[in-house]
Amino acid sequence: MKPFAYHQPDQIPDAAKLLTSIEDSKLVAGGMTLIPTLKQRLANPPALIDLSKLGHLKGITDDGDSITVGAMTPHAQVAASKLVQTKIPGLAALASMIGDPAVRSRGTIGGSVANNDPAADYPAGVLGLGATIVTSTREIAADRFFLGLFETALQPGEIITAIRFPLPLKAGYAKFKAPASRYALVGVFVAKFADGVRVAVTGAGPGVFRVPPMEMALSENFDPSAIAAIKIDNDGLTSDIHAEADYRAHLVTVMAKRAVDAALS
C-alpha cells in the first residue's frame, strides 16, 4: 500500500468537511472492500477518513413501524439482532449470508450500500424493502439511490448515517453464491407489504434492479408458483467467467421462487 494520511473525526460535519476539502480522499467504514482495493493499488487516496469514532452511527433502533440500522453497524450485529430477526427475518438472514464470519465482524451496512457493488447482498434488501437511505444532508428513497455499477445518488461530501427499513408483512432472501467469493451470482429479495410486493435482484446485472412482472404476479398470489413461468430478459445482464447472461436470467426465477418460499416459512 502507498502511504496515506489517516483522519478519525468524531463528528459527522468534521468528516464531511475533510471529505470535501481533501481531493480524492476516501471514507473507510469496515474496509472490507476498500482495504483490498488499496492493497492492489487500484486506488491511492492521499487520505482516509475513518468513520469508526462516530459511535452513534452503530446500532439498531426500533421506531415502531420501522427499524433504523446505523450506517456503521456490522453485518454480524444485524444477523444476530433479535429485533431484526423478529420484525424482518429476511433481512437478518441476508446479513448472515454475507461473506464469512470475519467479514461480517467488520463489514458495515453503510459501506456496502455506499459502495453499491453489483453483486453485494445489501442493495437487494434495501431496494426490496423500499428502505430510506439517511445521509448527513437528506433522506433518499432506495428507488432513487442505486444508479448502476458502483454508482449511487450520493453527492460529494455526503455521508450515509443510517438505513431505515419499513416493516413488511413477509420478506425473504435467496442467493446463489459464487463459491469462492460468496458474492451473489444472483440474489433475490422479496418483500410483501399491504399495498403490494417488491422484488429486487442483485448479482445478475450491472446494478440492483426490480422485476415488475414478478411484483404484479406475487401481489395477486404470494406463492412461488405465481412466478414460476416468468423469465426475465437476458438483455443487459452480466456475462462473465462465472456465468453467462442466460444462466443468470434463469437463476433470477429460481432464486425469486426460493425467496418467496423463505418469506413464507
Binding site: 473507510v28 474496509g31 482495504i35 483490498p36 470475519a102 467479514v103 465482524s105 467488520r106
Partner: protein, 161 residues
C-alpha cells in the same frame, strides 16, 4: 502514529504508519509469526485474529483499528490458567488430526474458538457455514469439522467445571 492496545493480555504500544496491516505489524514488528498470511486477499483466513472478541482477517485490517482495542492472536490461545495445557480447541485438533501441513491451522483455530464462543450448541452445518472464510489447501476439512465439534464440546465442558 502511536497505537496502544492490549495484545494477548499485555498492554502494548507501537509506533507505526497508518498504511500498515495488522498482519504485517504482528509478523514483522512484533515477531508474532503464528498469524499466517496465505493469500493476502481476504480469502483464506490463515490470518484470523480476535479483535475485541470477534474474528477478523488481520490482512484486511489497518492498524488504527487496534487503538484502545483488545487483540488475541494464536500465541495468546491457552488452556485454563495454571493448567499448562493447550486450549481445548487446540487439543481437539491434535486429538482428531485436524491438520495436515498446518499452515491454515492458526486461522482455523481462531475462527473455531470464535464460533464455539458465539454459539455453544454448534451443529455440523453451523461449523461448515462458519468455516466458509477459512481455506485448507490440504483439503482436510472432514477432520477439521470433527475437531471443531469436539473442541466446542470440550469448551462447554470446561465452562461447567
Amino acid at each position: 502514529m502511536q497505537i496502544s492496545f492490549t495484545l494477548n493480555g499485555r498492554p502494548t504500544t507501537v509506533e507505526v504508519e497508518p498504511a500498515t496491516l495488522v498482519a504485517e505489524l504482528l509478523r514483522e514488528q512484533l515477531s508474532l509469526t503464528g498469524t499466517h498470511i496465505g493469500c493476502d486477499t481476504s480469502q483464506c483466513g490463515a490470518c484470523v485474529v480476535h479483535l475485541d472478541g470477534l474474528p477478523v482477517k488481520s490482512c484486511t485490517l489497518l492498524v488504527p483499528a487496534l487503538d484502545g482495542a483488545t487483540l488475541l492472536t494464536i500465541e495468546g490461545l491457552q488452556g485454563a490458567p495454571g493448567s499448562n495445557r493447550m486450549h481445548p480447541m487446540q487439543e481437539a485438533f491434535r486429538e482428531h488430526h485436524g491438520l495436515q501441513c498446518g499452515f491454515c491451522t492458526p486461522g482455523m483455530l481462531m475462527t473455531a474458538v470464535a464460533l464455539a464462543t458465539e454459539k455453544p450448541d454448534l451443529t455440523e452445518a453451523d461449523v461448515r457455514h462458519g468455516l466458509e472464510g477459512n481455506i485448507c489447501r490440504c483439503t482436510g476439512y472432514q477432520n477439521i469439522v470433527v475437531s471443531v465439534m469436539a473442541g466446542a464440546a470440550a469448551m462447554n465442558a470446561a465452562k461447567g467445571e
